[in-house]
Symmetry: C2
Subunit: 227 residues, 2 copies
DNA sequence: CGGCAGTTTGATTAATTTCAAGCAAGGTGG
DNA sequence: CCACCTTGCTTGAAATTAATCAAACTGCCG
């Protein structure tokens, strides 16, 4: 079960490094930090469920959180995977109604929790908070439109190639990367069944991708771009 | 070709009824309206292309605009379909870089165009503009997450059923609705080929859906919910 | 009466899910 | 120290779903 815990100095200073807080200065930043609570989760803890009253939004300090929706037969679809520095459920700040999806920790995870009401009140005083929120939400919105486009025009190997290229951004020659989470989570993030991800990786072997557990080597980024 | 046109009184008062303007009051609202230009488009006019510098964002006064992305082979995927009262590309206000997708009028369409730089400057003066933007963008972000979830867990007939139910919101008994755009656009919006939409409609005949051109009759909303 | 855009229908193909089974690494308890 | 189990991943085969290709149909307009 997830447990509330007071924010220590360590957590506070970690929180201050998160993009959406670090874009604030002075009192606005201090008050946001002071208004936050810590939440500690273990793997598979549910943080909130769809339709529950949306009184809080969150920022991930460490670990990963999966946002997903259920259909009537109990099948799950991942909507987003949030890692360190990501915030989630911030839309509830200005959109009424309960949460629109479920949130689950995938691992030991440390979160900051903000009370919607308090932050709204703070935003009355410090306009910079609204600006920070627009920035954060815009970024998420663009990401989610990318996701829709990718789902609709890419095959499984293309999605994986795309993910790998973004993940090792910049490397021109051979690159190596280590997945920060199990492959099954990556599959969900890309909208694939784990089996489909596995098969996509074997297809990509032909384009210079070698997989050893979570360690992935990319010998020819150019080939990957042409998948 | 789309053409810039001065905002007449008719256009200005129409603009004032758009949700994201009407949430503003007094000067903030006036200045936003004064800063807008009108754009008139004919069917198939391109409003902007992916990677072009994103100097403007838009609000639809009448008509429909299709946001879509191309892949390398020239296949298109729709990301969003914007109708009257919708704004699009507002994310560019706080996210740098060019447009992330193409925008095309699907019909004779009247738009308001806002210059990003001016609106940013206005927002310095009137914090309410930031609040309005958070509201608008949050709404779009939630919609796009719905879209991801629906794409990932619903079959074609389910997506169509879902669309119909949302479109005739509230009606308990039999309902009728008229599509405001051709079926091919609806197909794109739902992430389907036109043929798949057509087949989905014939499947739904078994759940009390009758189609006459753009006119759709739903004899049993309950059955539709169970598709 | 053509002609055309939009839509439907049929046949085929492609991609992915689903189900089932096997494999490998790591951890546990005897 | 080893047999056993668990978890995560891979592989194969079958089934589903929708895309694609091709052709026919419909209503509307000149």
């Amino acid at each position: 079960m997830s447990s509330l815990l007071p924010m220590g100095e360590r957590e506070k200073s970690l929180l201050r490094t998160m993009p959406f807080i670090s874009s604030l200065i002075g009192e606005a930043s201090d008050q946001m930090v002071e208004s936050a609570s810590g939440v500690h989760c273990e793997a598979r803890d549910i943080i909130f469920r769809q339709d529950e009253p949306s009184d809080f939004f969150y920022c991930v300090l460490s670990g990963y959180v999966r946002l997903y929706r259920l259909n009537r037969d109990g099948r799950e679809a991942d909507i987003r995977l949030c890692g360190p520095e990501d915030t989630f459920a911030e839309c509830v700040l200005y959109a009424e109604g309960g949460y629109r999806y479920n949130a689950q920790a995938t691992d030991t995870t440390l979160l900051c929790r903000f009370e919607t009401r308090s932050v709204r009140r703070l935003a009355e005083r410090y306009g910079a908070i609204d600006k920070a929120m627009v920035g954060v939400i815009s970024g998420h919105f663009l990401e989610s439109m990318d996701c829709i486009a990718n789902d609709r025009l890419q095959t499984a190997p293309q999605r994986v190639a795309n993910y790998l290229l973004n993940a090792c951004e910049g490397s021109v020659e051979t690159a190596q990367l280590r997945l920060p989470f199990p492959k099954s989570l990556l599959a969900g993030k890309l909208g694939l069944a784990p089996e489909a991800l596995s098969r996509a990786f074997s297809t990509l072997r032909g384009s210079g991708v070698t997989v050893h557990g979570r360690l992935i080597e990319i010998s020819d980024p150019e080939a990957l771009r042409n998948v």
